[in-house]
């Protein structure tokens, strides 16, 4: 099956197992270190680029609440002022600053789900009965204070029996206890370039309507499907939640972002059903976001916004933050670390290549007589080169496979240490291939020694 010259090389390889093993380990370490760090570097570059091009880092956030991370003594979130209330109308400031492309509100929110497990939980069930009882004897605008959270129930929810709703196929239920999403104003979708795959985005009227409407991210929508349904079947259906039925009007296209797992509700602080106390509560949570397309404008836009809000509310009444600044620091740190690690790995690869070439050289010199005999028996120099290359390839292939076993966990560890998304399978293969080619090029040095040798000279050895 194998040719006789190959058998010579293979059997020598096996006979000198310790030496061959050291060669393979050298290759594995060189390739492993380079593949892990090369992949880290490529991912840092790509993800830094992605990070800085993300709309998150091209916008300025205005809020009345100091976030824990930005406080000098982070104890808990606090309101800067009891008097300052941010509303949708404050977004109009953007009209005075031409660099701002989009201005929108984006507030975190959650929906508590009603499902089988909710009912089976006796506390929840009693709680829901309590909600029902209260609602049956009160008006549509009743608010229940529960665990410091307002839960507003719609008309439709009150008219239905929960058990009936759970058995109604036309009503969508989630297995999750709660789902998270955002209340947004209409420019949010433009700023993030999000569009629907099924249904539609909110219309202008939806933002001022009292109907509870919801748009779902694609992955979240998939969790709500029965086995035999497709996503389009969800459009128009109602989602059962503690806060009331939410009518599904749209499902977003995949965006490969966290938004695929979120829902979106229309935000409107001017709607008729919001009283001052609710507006006050909303304001705690409200973040105005001003987005620019040219990130170099962020600083000037930030100072213009600061002046505008100062003139409206007074000094230090709102927090104006520029998330890009921190992102740029993170990006610079990650780039620095990955370059340093890459340089160390390249040094390691270079040293291991030289060592491998050196060991192969002495190994090849010991084979000099074999070369002479092979040539006497009819081998050309090209065939001899091929034969010895085969030995080098055998060592490099085994070393590279072993190197990948080293590289993959190390790379994952390094990426998670730098908070990078782990997405590196093809990059690690390419890096391993590149490093193995480099090592192979070094192994050609000893192999090429036989380029001009005469068979008679080769056979004189030993």
């Amino acid at each position: 099956m194998f040719s006789e010259p190959f058998k010579i090389i293979f059997r020598r390889f096996v006979d000198r197992l310790t030496e061959s093993g050291f060669l393979i380990i050298s290759v594995a370490l060189g390739v492993g270190a380079f593949a892990a760090s090369g992949t880290l570097f490529v991912n840092v570059v790509n993800q830094n680029d992605e990070l800085l091009n993300s709309p998150t880092y091209k916008e300025i956030v205005v809020s009345t609440r100091a976030e824990k991370e930005t406080m000098e003594f982070p104890v808990e979130e606090t309101l800067l002022s009891d008097d300052t209330i941010l509303t949708q109308s404050d977004l109009n400031i953007s009209q005075m600053i031409p660099s701002i492309d989009y201005a929108y509100i984006m507030n975190n929110t959650r929906l508590k789900m009603i499902n089988e497990s909710f009912i089976n939980d006796s506390d929840n069930f009693q709680h829901s009965q309590q909600i029902k009882a209260i609602n049956e004897s009160s008006s549509n605008e009743t608010h229940i204070d529960e665990n410091s959270q307002q839960m507003e129930l719609e008309d439709s929810f009150l008219d239905e029996n929960i058990d009936d709703a759970l058995n109604d196929k036309s009503i969508v239920k989630s297995d999750a206890d709660e789902i998270s999403g955002y209340e947004i104003t209409f420019e949010f979708f433009d700023a993030w370039n999000l569009s629907t795959e099924y249904g539609s985005l909110f219309s202008t009227n939806d933002y001022s309507s009292t109907n509870s409407l919801i748009i779902l991210g694609s992955e979240l929508a998939k969790t709500l499907l029965d086995d035999d349904e497709d996503l389009s079947s969800l459009i128009g259906k109602r989602l059962l939640a503690m806060q009331g039925y939410q009518t599904i009007v749209g499902i977003l296209e995949d965006s490969n972002s966290t938004y695929d797992y979120q829902f979106f509700l229309p935000y409107n602080d001017l709607a008729n059903n919001i009283g001052f106390s609710q507006l006050r509560k909303n304001s705690m949570n409200t973040q105005l976001r001003f987005s620019v397309s040219d990130s170099t404008q962020l600083e000037s836009v930030s100072s213009m916004l600061e002046q505008s809000f100062e003139s409206e509310f007074g000094k230090n009444q709102v927090i104006i933050s520029n998330p890009r600044f921190e992102a740029e620091q993170t990006v610079a740190r990650n780039a620095g670390i990955s370059i340093l690690i890459l340089l160390l790995a390249i040094s390691g690869l270079f040293i291991s290549s030289i060592n491998i070439a050196h060991i192969l050289l002495s190994r090849t010199l010991r084979m000099k007589k074999h070369v002479g005999i092979l040539m006497a028996l009819g081998a050309t120099r090209k065939q001899i080169n091929k034969l010895f290359s085969l030995e080098a390839i055998m060592i490099i292939v085994l070393g590279t496979v072993l190197g990948l076993f080293i590289a993959i966990p190390i790379n994952r560890q390094m990426q998670s240490a730098l908070n990078l998304t782990i997405n590196s399978n093809w990059t690690i293969l390419v890096s391993a291939f590149v490093s193995s080619i480099l090592i192979f090029s070094f192994t050609l040095i000893p192999i090429r020694r036989f380029d001009r040798i005469k068979p008679a000279d080769a056979m004189r050895v030993g």
Partner: protein, 230 residues
């Protein structure tokens, strides 16, 4: 078959030049059985290497079947060594990693013969040299005489025109050496030319022609029963 014309070989050592062969002329016909004799360092092995294109001459012309092959490319030289010549060395030069049969099969690999052809021929040749019981033995498991018989089988594998044997019995006891000589003589009777370097006058006498080399020159080229042919 072979014509060496005014062949010289000069080795460039560190500070001196050593003339190993000096204007040598040899003609070898098909079916000849030649013994090259002479003292150590006289140039016998160099002459053998040049005859087998294992080394190149510093000057002169090498003609094979009327074609000048002095300056052939490596690939062509390898093809000629593979197809036309069989080599036998004093130290056998078998590959210790290969079994007897694999050693015999190896030259046929370079002649692009199939696995089956190689194996059939190797089995035949090993039977011919009396090693039917040693096919799968490694050289280290065989005696010197057996190893040299494997080497002869290997030299005959591609049905060469000429066997070049460099002191083939030098490392063997007399009886084993005699066996080797008999196999070579049989090959010669079958039509293969044999050129053999030897120190042994008795073996020289068994050849049809003796070429005596001294200080890189041919001092005697004696063809059958003392007929000089320089």
């Amino acid at each position: 078959m072979i014509d060496l014309k005014n062949i010289s070989k000069i080795y460039d050592l560190a500070e001196t030049k050593v003339k190993a062969l000096n204007e040598v002329n040899i003609h070898i016909d098909r079916g000849e059985y030649i013994a090259i004799m002479g003292p150590s360092g006289s140039g016998k092995s160099t002459l053998m290497h040049i005859l087998g294109i294992l080394d190149t001459a510093s000057s002169g012309v090498y003609e094979l079947e009327g074609y000048d092959i002095t300056t052939l490319a490596d690939k062509e030289q390898a093809r000629i060594r593979n197809n036309h010549f069989g080599f036998i060395f004093q130290s056998f030069n078998l590959f210790p990693e290969l079994s007897a049969i694999e050693n015999v099969m190896l030259p046929m690999q370079y002649a692009n013969k199939s696995q089956k052809e190689r194996k059939d021929r190797a089995v035949y040749l090993l039977n011919e040299v009396g090693l039917s019981h040693r096919f799968n033995h490694l050289p280290t498991m065989m005696s010197g005489g057996e190893q040299q018989r494997v080497a002869i089988a290997r030299a005959l594998s591609n049905e060469p025109d000429l066997i070049l044997a460099d002191e083939p019995t030098g490392n063997l006891p007399t009886d084993k050496g005699d066996e080797v000589m008999q196999i070579l003589e049989k090959a010669n009777k079958d039509g293969v030319s044999v050129v053999m370097v030897t120190h042994n006058p008795n073996q020289g006498k068994r050849a049809k022609r003796i070429i005596n080399v001294r200080d890189g020159s041919i001092v005697l080229n004696e063809k059958e029963k003392g007929v000089k042919n320089v």
